[in-house]
Amino acid sequence: MRVILPTHLWRLAETDREIELVVEGAPTLNEVLDALEDRYPVLRGTIRDHVTKERRAFIRFFACGEDLTHEPPETPLPEAVVTGAEPLRVVGALAGG
């Protein structure tokens, strides 16, 4: 599957804007983030809290034209994301004017 990171995070991880991850089965958002953090440990704490695993306040998750941010993180991701037809986008939320 494909994950698109915000500029600050792909630069921090020294990777590209879009990365490919292999996650078995019908992964949930949390499982994708686990795989992302395993591959790029520097991203731990930048998307989710280290301990509680709660999403940081100004992070959003978009896919297939939908905002998945407030879906339970144990919900399986849309099929199009799992197959790689659509990317999962990790977004720094708009804040300010």
């Binding site: 921090l12 520097v42 731990r44 704490g45 930048t46 280290h50 301990v51 100004f58 992070i59 804040a95």
Partner: protein, 371 residues
């Protein structure tokens, strides 16, 4: 010939300014960590090529960066700052109790003797230590036992923004917290006591002489006279001659005793620098004139230093960690502004030159003298 390296943290990245000991020609590298808030960059006294930087973002949280080559290359290290045990609560703006929540690292203080040991002052206010070069961090929780439930955030957040490791006594540590006060440990950070006797905060506190709650903006010490501390409080410039046991005011003839940074001359322990700011509601210099004030008498009698600084229409601020001195002779003095200028004086403040003019807002300035 030795050189000088100025480490500048800004609203949009870190910059490193270097010069030879003449301090006339400066090279600028950066932005490092472009686009991030860099609250503080500081070098290890034991190994000047070992630098630590606090990289932080409201979106993406905290990153700690470490360099082993004087800032040419950097490596992200540990960013897990977890309070010890159940951290409990502190006062919130509305008077209720609020859980302790980590937001960012304001200040990094490397050990004078071990490049891998470094202290971090954080928001919500607490002190952490790493002894593995920043890979892992452990809180020194005894600090929050000192009436932490009464601390409350100031306008800039409830930040631990200043750490002084006493060079004469490795067990003695001083820290300062915005809107809580100054604190001292005499056992390496296990136990703490407030050191706020003599501070008067009649405008800010219901009890002007409360044990905790004073808005300390910055504290400074000279290594040769560690029992003497200087403080820029929210209002008032203060001095202690007994390691913080008691304080007395030395604002004297300053045009305003509000301000943020305070620094002590590298070779003259009685020479102190401050940057008066008009007021807490007008964070700019009095009369639109950017003036550093120097006292050669340990306070009370102050001299305006203006040569090379803008003396009209100047409305920048100088933040609490944005002034530093070097150890060359004559002593160099440096400060950065919220307008993105970094000014340097190679003669103890008599003459100033902008060594960077158009950086993002400057949060912090530190300086290293290189062999």
């Amino acid at each position: 010939m030795s050189g000088v390296r100025v480490l500048v943290g800004t609203h949009k990245g870190a910059f490193i300014l270097t010069s030879d000991a003449k301090r006339e020609q400066w090279q600028v590298s950066g932005p490092h960590f472009a686009g991030w808030d860099i609250y503080h960059v500081k070098g290890s006294p034991a190994d000047p090529n070992r630098l630590y930087a606090s990289q932080t973002s409201g979106w993406f949280g905290q990153v700690i960066q470490r360099s082993d080559d004087g800032g040419q290359t950097w490596e992200p290290v540990g960013n897990e700052f977890v309070y010890d045990g159940n951290p409990g609560t502190h006062q919130w703006y509305d008077g209720t109790q609020h859980p302790w929540e980590f937001t960012r690292v304001w200040y990094l203080e490397p050990s004078p003797s071990d490049p891998d040991t470094v202290y971090a002052g954080v928001e919500d206010a607490a002190l952490f230590r790493s002894s593995d070069g920043g890979q892992t961090w452990q809180e020194l929780p005894g600090l929050r036992d000192v009436k932490g439930h009464l601390w409350q955030p100031g306008a800039g957040g409830m930040c631990l923004h200043n750490i002084i490791l006493d060079p004469s006594d490795p067990q003695r540590i001083y820290i300062a917290i915005s809107a809580a006060g100054a604190f001292r440990s005499q056992d390496g950070g296990q136990n703490w006591q407030p050191i706020n006797e003599g501070l008067k905060s009649g405008y800010e506190l219901p009890d002007a002489t409360a044990e905790v709650g004073h808005c300390v903006h910055s504290i400074a010490m000279h290594a040769s006279r560690p029992e003497v501390l200087f403080m820029q409080k929210h209002w008032d410039v203060m001095r202690s001659d007994d390691s913080g046991d008691s304080w007395y005011e030395v604002s004297g003839d300053l045009p305003s005793d509000f301000g943020f940074p305070i620094a002590v001359h590298a070779h003259e322990p009685n020479t102190v620098f401050v940057v008066p700011i008009k007021s807490d509601s007008e964070h700019y210099p009095p009369d639109g004139k950017l003036r550093v004030y120097r006292s050669r008498k340990g306070g009370n009698e102050w001299q305006a230093l203006t040569e090379g600084l803008p003396q009209s229409n100047c409305y920048v601020n100088v933040l609490r960690s944005a002034m530093a001195v070097d150890s060359l002779d004559p002593c160099g003095v440096y400060f950065g502004t919220t307008g993105g200028q970094v000014y340097a004086s190679a003669d103890s403040g008599d003459h100033w030159t902008p060594i960077a003019r158009n950086l993002p807002a400057v949060f912090s300035v530190e300086v290293q003298v290189l062999p």
